[in-house]
């Protein structure tokens, strides 16, 4: 990789508008970095709506009995919260934002393979989001089914299920197109010399993710369409009173939605695999193991959907098989964690905010993963199914895992994208506030779940009061941390081009280009001659 600084700096992608004016600079641009930022701003906006709903629910649960919202509103709140967080935030999150911003640069390409399809994906995302949020104002209010839209209730309720389901369908299309685009990009556009075994691990994470997006999403798409058809035509595809089979719906739904869990977590693991070597200044331990474990997770992830249905009526042998398979998926995840720890071992660890969030990820993801084994085991799940233990578990995985990785990625690549630097000290404080608030918010849920408090209720028995108070207070602390992150984002200051170019001493290709990158990313497509994390040879370069 040559490091020669160009004598005449080219316009960066903020300055180069492609001849467009006003808002069209953004919404008509096919530059992958602008599209990445479009996603970023929209996703963050929806995330905040989702957080507001989460806070509302926690507020209601501060005390037993109904205080602020009634039962129906609560049902709509957790459904919309779930729909927003799953379909609008956590599934598109890292791939659509950081995949778009970084993937082409990190593999040495000028753009993704299909720039216009890329823009189309964003439009589909926005349309889907509009559909989802429109249920707030149109029809009989947001769906009250939970984000899983289980039949037959979803077929019979009068709330605006059709709209939410169509939203999920359209968002699925957006997700498919993004995955397709990334797959082709990685197959066709890697820089000369970048063999598969030299491809950075973030790209590997996205590669495995893209296959899941492609192979799983269509199934849920068609299943959701069947729900819409059933609602409009009054026919019995899944309604048992009309001859349909509701369990079949659950199978079809989870065949997608379990793999979707890996769409949420694999890109996050990719981010962590970039950050850990950079801030330890060490070669990643077990590159191949990490790369292949992504593929393995993606592959085995298809076979475990049944663990969501242990209590809904499956044959005994099916339940046992699904339980065993679920345990098998834990192996590749554990391989990754061990490799990250081994990478850090003996390295000079630099606790910058991105690294802190990465470590936070590992810690919270471990709790999420271990509680996952608890609900993945047939016997314990029968006790814990649909209790707050499950809510605690998936927040640890999705928010503590992927959510923290999202912020880690933001703090890692922020100077590259904006050519600015945030306040490192404040970001560090924000991390500790968030981390503390997070555990205060979600750990009591695990406890109260084991005590037997069911989920998806706006009220509870008095004996569950104390953990619920703690949890709600935790939600306030966590949100304070989130607000600090956002304020820090707006207060970031411009720094010199040289400082912004490679502030962390990373070795992957994105750190060799100008900050912010130019429209075509590279003056000249680089030729790659070694793996991405050769820190021990750094002095010799």
């Amino acid at each position: 990789m040559d490091d020669n600084v160009t004598s005449k700096p080219q316009l960066n992608f903020f300055e180069d508008t492609g001849g467009r004016k006003g808002i069209f600079k953004w919404i008509l641009s096919t530059d992958h970095k602008r599209i990445g930022l479009l996603y970023f701003y929209s996703i963050i906006s929806f995330f905040m709506v989702g957080v507001a709903l989460g806070l509302l629910m926690r507020l209601e649960l501060l005390e037993p009995g109904g205080q602020y919202i009634d039962a129906n509103t609560y049902n709509s709140a957790f459904t919309l919260h779930g729909v927003i967080m799953i379909f609008l935030f956590i599934i598109p999150g890292i791939p659509a934002v950081f995949g778009n911003l970084i993937l082409p640069i990190i593999i040495g390409a000028k753009d993704v393979a299909f720039p216009r399809v890329n823009l189309l994906s964003w439009y589909l995302y926005v349309i889907g989001a509009f559909f989802a949020l429109s249920t707030l104002v149109f029809g009989d209010g947001p769906a009250d089914t939970g984000w899983t839209f289980y039949a037959p209730y979803s077929v019979n309720t009068s709330t605006n299920v059709s709209m939410s389901v169509l939203a999920a369908f359209i968002l699925g299309f957006s997700s498919i197109l993004t995955g397709l685009n990334f797959l082709v990009t990685m197959h066709r556009m890697r820089a000369p010399g970048m063999t598969w075994m030299r491809m950075p691990l973030f790209a590997w994470g996205l590669y495995a993710t893209a296959w899941i997006q492609l192979l799983a999403t269509p199934i849920v798409g068609i299943t959701l369409l069947m729900i819409v058809a059933e609602r409009f035509l009054g026919v019995g595809l899944f309604d048992p009173s009309l001859g349909g089979d509701p369990i079949l719906y659950q199978h079809m739904f989870w065949i997608y939605s379990h793999p979707a869990v890996y769409v949420m977590i694999l890109p996050a693991m990719g981010v962590i695999s970039e950050i850990i070597p950079t801030f330890s200044q060490r070669k990643i331990f077990g590159y191949k193991a990490i790369a292949f474990s992504s593929l393995f997770i993606a592959f085995v992830g298809y076979t475990v959907w049944g663990h969501h249905m242990f209590t809904s009526g499956m044959s005994g042998s099916a339940r046992i098989i699904f339980s065993i398979l679920t345990f098998i998926v834990a192996i590749p995840s554990a391989i990754k964690v061990f490799n990250w720890l081994a990478t850090m071992y003996g390295g000079s660890i630099d606790l910058k905010p991105a690294m802190l969030f990465a470590l936070g990820f590992i810690f919270l993801f471990l709790i999420g993963g271990l509680t996952g084994l608890v609900v993945g085991a047939l016997a314990t799940d029968v006790h814990l199914h649909d209790t707050y233990f499950v809510v605690g578990h998936f927040h640890y995985v999705m928010f503590g895992g992927t959510g923290f990785a999202f912020i880690a990625a933001l703090y890692y690549w922020f100077p590259k994208i904006y050519g600015k630097m945030y306040d490192v000290k404040q970001a560090t404080i924000a991390f500790w506030v968030m981390f503390t608030g997070f555990n205060i918010l979600y750990f009591p849920m695990l406890v109260v779940g084991i005590m037997g408090m069911p989920r998806r209720y706006y009220d509870y028995l008095p004996q569950f009061h104390v953990p619920n108070i703690i949890s709600t207070v935790g939600s306030w602390i966590l949100v304070t941390g989130l607000i600090m992150v956002i304020i820090n984002f707006f207060k970031a200051k411009k720094i010199s081009a040289e400082e912004a170019k490679n502030p962390w001493g990373g070795l992957t290709l994105e750190w060799t280009v100008q900050s912010p990158p130019t429209v075509l990313n590279f003056d000249e497509i680089p030729t790659v001659t070694s793996g991405p994390y050769e820190y021990q040879n750094k002095e010799e370069r």
């Binding site: 720039p115 397709l180 199934i219 019995g236 429209v519």
Partner: protein, 207 residues
């Protein structure tokens, strides 16, 4: 470079292998989309053998067979038109594509009569005949409308895409050495054909 020149550099980028790979992956997702329906169909068929049997007796094998022939022929003409454009026979290529669109039209007209007849005799959700049927038979017809409806939608989309290919040939954008779009449209049309080749025996023929 000025921004116009940059934009140009962006547009110049051409990689036929990439667009073909992208198309194949997309077709894969389409197959899975229908695959979900085929799965539901086979499960319910297995649960309601008799009723599905009775349901399929209401379908007109003759129209179905005609439509099968129409689609297979149109698939052939698309394929030939790709060879034609490679040999610079642009008029022929366009003619063959027009024929394909015509075939799509014939298919849809047949479909219209087929569905129309069923609606007339009350064979639709809410119709007298439909409501009088046992549950399994109703499921059969729900899936029949859903699957052939979704397929019909694909026929229409495919015909529109082929229309755009013709337009691009007229504009000189699809040429003998640059026909990736033409080829991809052909691939899409083959998929539409292929799905029908599964739908036809599954719905009309299996007794």
């Amino acid at each position: 470079m000025s921004s116009e020149a940059l934009q140009h550099a962006h547009d110049e980028h051409r990689d036929d292998a990439a667009s073909k790979l992208g198309m194949w992956l997309f077709l894969f997702t389409e197959l899975l989309l229908f695959g979900g329906l085929f799965l539901v169909y086979s499960i319910y068929r297995n649960m309601n053998m008799e009723d599905f049997h009775a349901g399929s007796a209401h379908l007109d094998i003759f129209i179905g067979a005609i439509n099968t022939i129409v689609l297979i022929t149109s698939s052939a003409t698309v394929a030939i038109s790709i060879t034609a454009i490679q040999k610079k026979h642009y008029r022929l290529a366009k003619g063959l594509l027009w024929f394909t669109i015509l075939a799509a039209g014939v298919f849809m007209v047949n479909k219209y009569f087929e569905w129309g007849h069923k609606f007339e005799i009350g064979l639709y959700p809410g119709g007298d005949m439909f409501e009088a049927m046992p549950g399994g038979e109703r499921l059969f017809f729900v899936l029949y409308y859903f699957m052939t409806g979704l397929h019909g939608l694909h026929v229409i989309i495919g015909a529109i895409i082929i229309g755009f290919v013709i337009k691009e040939i007229n504009q000189g954008k699809q040429t003998y050495d640059n026909f990736a779009f033409h080829e991809n449209a052909g691939l899409y049309w083959h998929l539409v054909d292929l799905i029908w080749i599964f739908l036809f025996p599954l719905m009309y023929l299996i007794i």
